[in-house]
């Protein structure tokens, strides 16, 4: 057997999705991603921070690059790069707090790169990124910082755990304009309740592609829609089959 029994359809679908994404990067480059309100709000938030003379706070959450939260953390780092560029261009003070050590070099580098891209490398300071060793120290430090510096904007996009509710609630209490986003369903309600704008689930990955301004990445989002159509099609056929009293689709997926 070339493929493990029970994983054949998964393997075929995986390869199919890979092909669809590859097709998207090559042939669907001219597509546009619809406006994402949370992403638009980031520009508004940075502008507000400049007008108020207060800092923008950003945090990629408690996820890292070595586990199931890696994709969300990559998307969060891409968005940090975008915010850094906006802050550099508009002259806003920028604060980033992180609690996962191995994301530190990537976060520092992407901020430095974007300050350089904006032509404001002289405004870059290593103090922009603050490392706090765990979730409790992250939010306790941030709560103090929010209070002292009265942040104007709080951007909480990434893989969040239970620090989500504390950061979002405290940010709200100091009057910050808040943008929350995560693909972790258990923390999404915290952002729904506390944030002004949301980047929900896979919008975060689309937002990361959009801010890259790379046509191949934007094309891959269109390729992703092909995969989504296949999945929805399978679900509809499976539902009809189940209503008809047969498990043909469920059994097919187990091959």
């Amino acid at each position: 057997m070339i493929v493990y029994a029970g994983k054949i359809i998964g393997f075929v679908l995986g390869l199919g999705f890979f092909a669809a994404l590859l097709y998207g990067t090559k042939y669907l480059r001219n597509r546009e991603i619809r406006p994402i309100p949370g992403l638009i709000a980031i520009e508004e938030a940075v502008g507000r921070a400049v007008e108020m003379g207060r800092p923008v706070h950003d945090c990629p959450g408690g996820g890292g690059l070595t586990d199931y939260t890696a994709q969300q953390t990559i998307a969060a780092i891409a968005i940090i790069g975008y915010v850094a560029k906006l802050c550099a261009e508009k002259g806003a003070q920028y604060r980033v707090s992180i609690n996962v050590a191995h994301t530190l070099p990537a976060v520092e580098e992407i901020i430095r790169t974007n300050y350089r891209k904006a032509g404001k490398i002289e405004q870059y300071s290593p103090d922009i990124v603050r490392f706090l060793p765990d979730q409790v120290s992250l939010f306790s430090y941030d709560m103090g910082m929010f209070e002292r510096e009265k942040i104007a904007a709080n951007i909480l996009v990434g893989a969040y755990f239970w620090e989500a509710i504390v950061l979002a609630e405290y940010g709200g209490s100091v009057g910050a304009l808040q943008i929350g986003g995560t693909a972790r369903q258990s923390q999404l309600p915290a952002f729904v309740a506390s944030c002004d704008y949301l980047i929900i689930g896979d919008e975060m990955f689309a937002a990361a592609a959009k801010v890259s301004e790379d046509r191949a990445q934007i094309g891959s989002i269109a390729g992703q829609d092909i995969c989504r159509a296949i999945l929805v099609g399978l679900m509809v056929i499976g539902l009809i089959a189940a209503l008809a009293g047969t498990k043909v689709i469920a059994d097919f997926l187990k091959i």
């Binding site: 994983k7 393997f11 999705f17 790169t113 990124v129 729904v192 989002i221």
Partner: protein
């Protein structure tokens, strides 16, 4: 550091490892699971090295605050740096003291701060309960149903009440969660492929 060492080499390692793990999951390869397990251990080892970078960041940031006597920051910096070195030295040379400090100071403070979560959930819930739109009204109804169904007294108030909350959680709630999870999982798969193709380079610190 050369461009090759900074961007190309990590990308090559990332691409090789991603495809290895993907194919090894589906295709029986002699010795494959052992190599994948070893890769997992390497990941832990390499990511732990990064803790040193974290410690350097703390020293640099708080050290500067202390030297410059930054208002509201320098005293905090002394406490952080002193605590860090105390735990480091105790962990290396005085293990029983490390455990004593960890159990009696760190865990106590940790637990006290965790209590914020409970209070903030209530304040967030209070805001959510303000009915401003149809969505907020539906959320309010679902929340009250869930609260009542989880309260021990709910069955005494009205027999079917506990079942209403359970039905909301298991039927419409679960349906929405599953849709969300499938959509997010597809997004994660696409992000992984974009990274494996070298298109998404945020984890390498972006591209010029």
């Amino acid at each position: 550091m050369s461009v090759f060492a900074r961007t190309h080499l990590p990308l090559i390692i990332f691409v090789v490892c991603t495809f290895w793990v993907f194919f090894e999951f589906f295709i029986p390869i002699p010795g494959g699971p052992a190599i994948t397990s070893m890769l997992g251990k390497w990941v832990s080892a390499v990511s732990n090295f990064a803790l040193l970078l974290g410690a350097l960041n703390i020293l640099r940031f708080h050290g500067r605050n202390i030297v410059q006597r930054r208002e509201n920051e320098w005293l905090h910096g002394i406490i952080i740096i002193a605590s860090m070195f105390t735990m480091f030295i105790a962990g290396l040379a005085f293990k029983p003291y490390f455990k004593l400090l960890y159990d009696n100071i760190y865990m106590g403070l940790n637990t006290a701060l965790m209590c914020y979560v409970g209070f903030y959930f209530y304040s967030a819930m209070y805001r959510t309960f303000k009915v401003r739109s149809l969505e907020a009204l539906i959320t309010l109804f679902a929340c009250i149903s869930m609260l009542l169904s989880n309260a021990p007294i709910s069955g005494a108030i009205w027999g079917p009440l506990p079942q209403i909350g359970i039905w909301i959680a298991n039927v419409p709630g679960m349906g929405a969660w599953r849709g969300f999870i499938m959509s997010a999982a597809l997004g994660m798969f696409a992000m992984a492929i974009r990274a494996a193709l070298g298109l998404e380079r945020a984890y390498l610190g972006g591209s010029e």
